[in-house]
C-alpha cells in the first residue's frame, strides 16, 4: 500500500514538474539556463583584426602614405596578419614582428589576371609581368611600393640587391633609359644616381 502511495506521489510530482516546463513560454527560463548572458559572451570576444587607424600610432609614415594611395581600402591586417597581439605586446614594450608572406603571393592574390575578376580592376599576368631578365628575378616590391602603389609605379629603390642596372633599365627592359642616356654605359650609372635617390 505504501509502495503504491509513494509511486503515485512520485509520478504526480514528476508529471506536475513536466507540465510546469510545458506551460512556461520559454522552457529555458524555467530551468534557469537563459540566453541573457550568451549575447554578452559573444560581444566580449577579442577583436583580433585592427583597422589601419590602429597602426598609425607607431607606423605613421606607412599608414599615411597608404591612406592617400590606391591601397587606401586595403586593410593593414589583410597583408600583415591580425595585429591585436602585436599591438598589445608593442604597447607593453615588447617587440613582436608580424611575419609577412612572400610578396609575390600577397600581390598576386589580388592582382593576378583572372577571367572572373572585373575587367576594370588592375591585374597582370604574373608569369610575364616583371619576368626575370638577365637572370635577375624580381619580386613585386622591386618596382612597386605596397604602401604607395602608383600606376605606373614610381619607386625610389635601394641599390642593394640590384647590382645590374641594365637588367631593368636596359634598352629592351621594362624601364629603359631615356634617349638622352644612349651614349652612356652601365658602369657609369652610379656617377649621377646616388643610392636611395632613385630617378
Amino acid at each position: 500500500m505504501l509502495v503504491r502511495a509513494v509511486l503515485a506521489v512520485a509520478l504526480l510530482a514528476t508529471a506536475g514538474l513536466f507540465m510546469r516546463t510545458v506551460t512556461a513560454s520559454l522552457s529555458v527560463e524555467v530551468i534557469g539556463l537563459t540566453h541573457e548572458d550568451n549575447p554578452r559572451w559573444w560581444a566580449e570576444r577579442p577583436v583580433n583584426n585592427q583597422s589601419s587607424a590602429a597602426c598609425a600610432d607607431c607606423h605613421e609614415a606607412a599608414t599615411e602614405a597608404a591612406a592617400a594611395s590606391a591601397h587606401a581600402t586595403v586593410n593593414c591586417d589583410s597583408c600583415h596578419g591580425a595585429a591585436r597581439e602585436h599591438i598589445d605586446l608593442a604597447r607593453s614594450g615588447q617587440k613582436a614582428p608580424l611575419p609577412l608572406a612572400d610578396a609575390r603571393d600577397l600581390c598576386t592574390s589580388c592582382h593576378a589576371g583572372l577571367a572572373s575578376r572585373p575587367a576594370d580592376f588592375p591585374q597582370v599576368d604574373p608569369v610575364t609581368h616583371g619576368a626575370p631578365a638577365n637572370g635577375v628575378t624580381s619580386s613585386c616590391t622591386s618596382c612597386h611600393n605596397p604602401h604607395d602603389p602608383g600606376f605606373p609605379p614610381v619607386v625610389k629603390h635601394q641599390l642593394e640587391g640590384r647590382p645590374d642596372c641594365l637588367a631593368c633599365h636596359g634598352p629592351d627592359q621594362w624601364q629603359p633609359v631615356p634617349p638622352s642616356h644612349a651614349d652612356r654605359t652601365g658602369d657609369s650609372c652610379l656617377k649621377c644616381h646616388k643610392p636611395g635617390e632613385g630617378a
Binding site: L2, V3, R4, T21, S27, L33
Partner: protein
C-alpha cells in the same frame, strides 16, 4: 566529391548511427502494432506472438537512444533534450515521446506478465527470485478486481500505444520531411513513409525472431501465426510501396529545380541501394512472394518462404533508412554536386559501434525472456485466473503443459 559542394558540406554530418536510429525505432513501432492487433482487435491468429512482440519492442526501445547519444557532439548534454526542449523542433520530440512510450511499454509489459511474475516470485529462490519479487512492486497478489483491471488496462494501453507508436516513428519521419533545405527529404509524405516501413520492418523482424527463437529452443512454430503475419506484412508492404512510389513519381513528374540532382542521386549515385535493394529486393520481390502465398490455401511449407521474404524486407528497410539519411546528405545544397560517405570501421560512429548497437537488443531480449519467457505462461491465459493463495499450483516444467489446455497447446491442430 563530385561537382560543386558547399565548403561546409564536404563531410556529411549524420552518420551510420543516424541510419540505425530510425531502423530501431521502426522495429519497436512495428512489433508493438502486431501486439496491439491482438490485444485491441482480437486477431486470434497473432496470439502466439502477442507477448513475444511486446518483449521484442521493449528490448529495442531500451537501445533506441544509444545511437543518438553516441552521435552527439556533446553526449554529456543529451539530458538537455529532456530539460529544455525547444518545442518547434521535431527532434525535441524524442525526449517526451520516447519517454512516454517507454513508460507505456514498461507498464503494458508489466501488466501482461504480472501473473507470471507473481507466480515465479512465489516459486523461485535465489537471485532470480529476488528479481521477481522486486518486479512485483510489493503487490504480490491479484484479486478478481485486479484481474479485471489488468485486462482492461492492457486493452487501453495497447490502444493508446498505436497512435503513440505512430508518433514515435512519425516524428522521425517529420524530422526529415520538414527540412525544406534538403530536396530528398522535404515531403509531407515522409512521416507516413517512415511509419509504414516501420510497421513492415517490425512485422518482418517478428517473423524472423519468432522462427529463430522457437527453433533454438526446439519448440514448434505456429504456422497459422506465421501465415497471418505474412498476410499483414503483405498488406502493409503494398501500402508502403504505393506511398513511396507516389512520392518519387510525383517528384519526377513535377520536375522541380531539385529534380535534376535528386534523379542523379538515385540513378547514378545510389542505384544499387535504391532500386536494387530497397525497391526490388526489399519490396517488390517479397511482395510477389507473399502475394502468391496469400492467394493459395495455407500450407506447411509456406513458413520458410515467408521467413525468407521477411529477411529480404528487413534488408530492404535498412537500405531505405540508408538511402534517406545518407542519400539525402550526399546531395549538396548547391544543387550542383554530391559528396560521398563510407562509414569508418572503428570510432564512435563506425561499423563496429553500429554492429554492437544492433546486437544489443537481441542480448537484452535474451535476458528478459530468461525471466519471463512468453512461450511458457504457467499462470495465465485469457479467461483464466492466477491461483488464489493456497490453491495448488499446477506443474509447468516439462513439455506437456497441455494440462492447462486451450490455445497454448502447440501440438494440437
Amino acid at each position: 566529391m563530385d561537382g560543386y559542394v558547399f565548403p561546409n558540406e564536404v563531410e556529411i554530418q549524420w552518420s551510420l548511427l543516424i541510419v540505425l536510429y530510425p531502423f530501431i525505432t521502426g522495429l519497436v513501432a512495428g512489433a508493438f502494432v502486431v501486439s496491439s492487433l491482438y490485444h485491441v482487435f482480437n486477431i486470434k491468429s497473432l496470439k502466439p506472438v502477442a507477448s513475444f512482440s511486446l518483449l521484442m519492442a521493449l528490448s529495442f526501445m531500451l537501445v533506441a537512444p544509444l545511437p543518438l547519444l553516441a552521435h552527439l557532439g556533446r553526449p554529456e548534454r543529451g539530458i538537455l533534450i529532456f530539460l529544455t526542449p525547444n518545442f518547434t523542433s521535431a527532434m525535441s520530440g524524442f525526449g517526451y515521446i520516447w519517454m512516454f512510450y517507454l513508460i507505456l511499454l514498461l507498464t503494458e509489459t508489466w501488466l501482461v506478465f504480472r501473473p507470471d511474475i507473481i507466480h515465479y516470485a512465489r516459486t523461485t529462490g535465489g537471485f532470480k527470485g529476488l528479481v521477481y519479487r522486486t518486479l512485483t512492486l510489493g503487490m504480490a497478489e491479484m484479486s478478481e478486481e485486479d484481474h479485471q483491471f489488468r485486462e482492461k488496462a492492457i486493452k487501453v494501453l495497447a490502444a493508446v500505444g498505436i497512435p503513440a507508436a505512430a508518433l514515435l516513428h512519425g516524428y522521425v519521419g517529420f524530422l526529415f520531411g520538414a527540412i525544406k533545405a534538403n530536396p530528398w527529404w522535404s515531403t509531407p509524405l515522409m512521416p507516413v513513409i517512415f511509419l509504414l516501413s516501420a510497421i513492415v520492418s517490425g512485422i518482418a523482424l517478428l517473423i524472423v525472431m519468432y522462427v529463430v527463437v522457437m527453433k533454438l529452443l526446439g519448440r514448434p512454430v505456429d504456422h497459422d501465426c506465421i501465415s497471418s503475419l505474412g498476410k499483414w506484412l503483405l498488406a502493409f508492404l503494398v501500402i508502403d510501396l504505393v506511398i513511396e512510389g507516389l512520392e518519387i513519381l510525383s517528384m519526377a513528374y513535377e520536375s522541380e529545380d531539385s529534380w535534376e540532382v535528386v534523379s542523379e542521386l538515385i540513378v547514378q549515385r545510389i542505384p544499387v541501394s535504391y532500386f536494387g535493394i530497397q525497391l526490388l529486393l526489399g519490396s517488390l520481390i517479397p511482395m510477389v512472394i507473399l502475394g502468391a502465398l496469400a492467394a493459395q490455401a495455407r500450407r506447411e511449407g509456406a513458413s520458410p518462404v515467408i521467413f525468407a521474404a521477411a529477411l529480404l524486407v528487413l534488408v530492404g528497410v535498412f537500405a531505405m533508412r540508408w538511402n534517406v539519411v545518407i542519400g539525402g546528405q550526399m546531395i549538396s545544397k548547391s544543387m550542383r554536386g554530391f559528396t560521398s560517405y563510407t562509414p569508418p570501421l572503428g570510432g564512435r560512429e563506425g561499423v563496429l559501434a553500429a554492429s554492437v548497437l544492433l546486437m544489443l537488443p537481441f542480448y537484452i531480449f535474451s535476458v528478459i525472456v530468461s525471466f519471463v519467457p512468453p512461450w511458457e505462461r504457467p499462470a495465465v491465459d485469457e479467461g483464466e485466473r492466477s491461483p488464489e493463495p493456497g490453491e495448488a499450483v499446477p506443474a509447468w516444467e516439462g513439455a506437456d503443459s497441455g494440462a492447462r489446455g486451450g490455445a497454448w497447446d502447440w501440438e494440437r491442430r
